[in-house]
């Protein structure tokens, strides 16, 4: 029996130029826990893309079925072994040359979520609508943002980034239409303001002035917060406190990054709020994605960790060499080791995020369980530029859709697009054809 009035799911804490959406609280579903209400718990999909392939010697286990000891690169996911699904032998045929000659980096990134062969050009770009945007178009009206596109590396959109392929191909994952990529947000402050603010994104100078007098956005909504807290039970109060604390922590990280950057080099080219440290930047962006998922601000995210073909060095872990040149290692053991270290470093950051998603309760489950986070690359062997057996894993269950804790190896040439068709099904978006899919992916789901 419902004994009290439910708090609306879309309750928002409002203040001057601020709008903070809330996570799922018990008060929003007073009679039953939200997960017990069929179709009520939001399912999220996210794609985390790493560039230049992966050292597959340290990715593929030598077994199939139940996950046992994980290979070196996947080691950080050891605590989440029962939450991930490793997929083998998925292929992106449209990333291959197919008579278009060199340019595997351009092709593999552009075809990754679109499943089509991009046009080789620097001017009149053409790929296809990406699967995340197909989902965003169908269910985007349910959330404040149809989708979020996030990245960590400054990425120009024009010019030649790979053997005649436009930078638009290597520097974007999401494509709204076959000619319109969606550039990722790189600046954490810009993402923060998009999630919680309503004003325009400020220039670095204006932001610096404002920062001196900045107050937390939580101060602006304190009136609404106090009123809401008085209506909540102890469990919901704790949840709300934790949630608002996580937003405050993001603010602190942002302020720290901005202060650090101002001290290091006020004239630096990269966005003002971008932390100098890669891991910090990764954490800040994924913390905000987490809040966005928690508050159901969006259900669709693409995260281009760094642009495809990047030559970014990793001095944070003692690697001053560019990532891309290292991957063309010509079987030099020293270079191969550095590539593996970069792969491990990326995975460590990802695993920390997965841990956070798992730690956040949602009904009688958690956010990770109600998500499908794909981690992968558009190339397998970055040295030879192979497009088959692409490194692919899914973290989460997509609600009760995927049975994780396994390594599933498919038959060779199984299209990666088959996975995306299955994921779209899970999101409630049923599409007949996508990319070069030959059907749905067998064995992934519980049924």
């Amino acid at each position: 029996m419902i004994t009290r009035k439910a708090l609306p799911r879309r309750t928002i804490l409002r203040g001057l130029g601020t709008a903070i959406a809330l996570p799922v609280l018990d008060a929003m579903t007073p009679a039953l826990a939200s997960s017990q209400l069929p179709g009520k718990t939001p399912i999220r999909m996210a794609f985390v893309y790493v560039p230049n392939g992966i050292d597959m010697r340290h990715w593929n286990p030598d077994y199939e079925g139940k996950l046992q000891e994980l290979p070196r690169i996947l080691k950080p996911l050891e605590p989440f072994k029962n939450d991930i699904t490793l997929l083998g032998n998925l292929t992106h045929n449209n990333g291959r040359a197919l008579l278009d000659g060199p340019g595997d980096h351009g092709r593999c990134c552009a075809s990754y979520l679109t499943g089509v062969q991009p046009r080789k050009t620097m001017v009149d770009i053409k790929a296809g609508i990406s699967c995340d945007q197909i989902v965003a178009n169908k269910i985007g009206h349910l959330t404040r943002f149809a989708s979020l596109e996030v990245g960590l590396e400054d990425a120009r959109q024009a010019g030649d980034c790979d053997s005649g392929y436009s930078c638009a191909y290597t520097n974007n994952l999401a494509w709204r239409s076959e000619t319109q990529p969606l550039p990722p947000i790189l600046d954490p402050r810009a993402l923060f303001e998009r999630l919680f603010g309503s004003g325009p994104v400020l220039s670095p100078e204006a932001r610096a002035r404002q920062t001196r007098f900045r107050r937390s956005i939580l101060d602006f909504v304190s009136g609404d917060t106090k009123k809401l807290q008085s209506d909540l039970g102890p469990t919901d109060r704790r949840k709300l406190d934790e949630y608002l604390s996580s937003i405050r922590e993001i603010e602190r990280q942002l302020e720290k990054a901005e202060n650090d950057n101002a001290q290091i080099d006020p004239g630096m080219e990269k966005p003002y709020g971008v932390p100098a440290d890669f891991a910090e930047h990764f954490r800040l962006m994924t913390d905000m994605i987490t809040v966005a998922f928690q508050a159901d601000l969006t259900r669709v995210v693409t995260f281009l960790v760094t642009r495809e073909g990047t030559s970014r060095p990793y001095r944070e872990i003692g690697i001053p060499d560019g990532h891309h040149p290292l991957t063309h290692h010509k079987n030099d053991p020293e270079m191969m080791e550095k590539v593996a270290q970069i792969n491990c470093y990326h995975m460590e950051q990802f695993a920390k995020w997965i841990g956070k998603l798992k730690a956040i309760e949602e009904g009688d489950s958690n956010i990770l369980n109600n998500s499908m986070i794909v981690y992968g690359a558009g190339l397998a062997d970055g040295n030879r530029h192979t497009h088959e057996d692409l490194p692919t894993l899914i973290a989460g269950r997509g609600g009760n859709y995927i049975r994780p804790g396994r390594r599933i190896v498919y038959r060779k040439e199984t299209p990666m697009s088959n996975l995306f068709l299955s994921m779209m099904d899970c999101m409630g978006v049923h599409v007949e054809h996508f990319g070069d899919a030959s059907g749905r992916l067998d064995g992934l789901t519980l049924s």
Partner: protein
């Protein structure tokens, strides 16, 4: 995007067969690699309607043999119809695979040990088409039409086939009105679908053509003895008690497909092939028909047999894949010039 200035490479051959049932598939495969070695064709896809892993492993071993070893192997993996109605596992594939050297190691290396070492056939064939220049692929069907019918069901496949494929050469049927033939009878539904929906011309080599052209068994001991271990010769010996001459049903399709203008066979007038309920084929002449069938020309018999032998017993012509060529060059360069720390550079500059 295709560059008009670039010369087209030799025609790409997509070979789909029920290898394992009769030795003519093995001979056909050997001839294909012989034609590949001569630069007349490129084997770009091998797939099977048989379901035994051993048949796929045998094809893999043969591909390695003609490539000059697994490391030099190029192209796509072997496709296998996991749900195929015909097993194909027979001594002609198991005996060569079991052959070992003095150290007990398999003589014919292959990398197929489980189903996931093989490819899904429909995407495999579709993907092979996409890598060919327009009108520069020929499909040879040397088994039931099961796999090709599945390819037709893939979204967009008919458009790709129409663009890429010159014609389909199928061993199947009996013309003009023979008894039910094995390949057609084994999957009548698929045969009907392919004959009705395949978007390019189809040339059929009926049962009667290959039946009249017997591969000379004596050639196995004479023409293949340049090496003590030849997978084709070992398969031939294992298939039946030697010596024997073998009908060359599938080999006829290979010979016509790669050398259609060589005058080996006469061609019927155009028309339409239909399949009756019992698996018999019927040919109805019509001007707009896209089907034809091969007619044996007795005057060409000796020439055909001679060319069979020459092609099937041709020595492998290994070609070093481009990535290996690059690696070898780079290694040589490294030896001559000690390595320096890599500088940052955009991806396009390394290729």
């Amino acid at each position: 995007m295709q560059s008009s200035e670039r010369a087209k490479p030799p025609v790409g051959i997509i070979f789909d067969s029920d290898l394992g049932n009769s030795i003519d598939d093995v001979l056909a495969l050997a001839m294909l690699y012989g034609l590949d070695g001569k630069g007349e064709a490129r084997v770009v896809s091998i797939s099977l309607t048989t379901s035994s892993l051993k048949t796929a492993a045998f094809c893999d071993a043969v591909a390695n043999f003609y490539a000059g070893g697994p490391a030099l192997r190029r192209g796509l993996p072997i496709g296998l119809a996991a749900d195929g109605r015909i097993s194909g596992e027979s001594p002609m594939v198991t005996v060569p695979l079991a052959k070992t050297d003095a150290n007990g190691k398999p003589v014919y290396a292959h990398s197929i040990h489980k189903l996931t070492d093989t490819a899904e056939v429909a995407p495999l064939i579709r993907n092979a088409f996409t890598a060919q220049h327009d009108q520069n692929a020929i499909v040879i069907l040397a088994g039931p039409a099961t796999n090709l019918a599945k390819v037709l069901d893939l979204p967009g496949a008919k458009e790709i086939i129409a663009r890429k494929v010159r014609f389909l050469c199928m061993m199947g049927g009996a013309f003009p009105d023979g008894a039910p033939e094995f390949n057609v009878k084994s999957d009548i539904t698929a045969a009907r679908k392919v004959l009705a929906e395949w978007p390019t011309p189809i040339v059929a080599s009926g049962y009667e053509v290959g039946e009249a052209l017997l591969y000379p068994g004596a050639s196995i001991e004479k023409d293949f003895n340049w090496t003590p271990n030849h997978p084709i010769a070992d398969a031939y010996r294992a298939y039946k008690k030697m010596p024997y001459d073998a009908p060359t049903w599938d080999a006829t399709a290979v010979l016509y497909a790669v050398r259609p203008d060589a005058g080996y066979f006469k061609l019927s007038e155009p028309g339409t092939i239909t399949v009756l309920d019992d698996g018999r084929t019927r040919f109805t002449p019509s001007r707009e028909g896209r089907h034809r069938y091969l007619i044996l020309d007795p005057a060409q018999k000796e020439r055909i047999l001679s060319d069979y032998v020459a092609l099937a017993s041709a020595k492998p012509v290994p070609r070093v894949p481009r990535f290996l060529q690059q690696q070898q060059q780079q290694q040589q360069q490294r030896q001559a010039d000690p390595p320096k720390p890599p500088a940052s550079q955009p991806p396009g500059t390394t290729k």
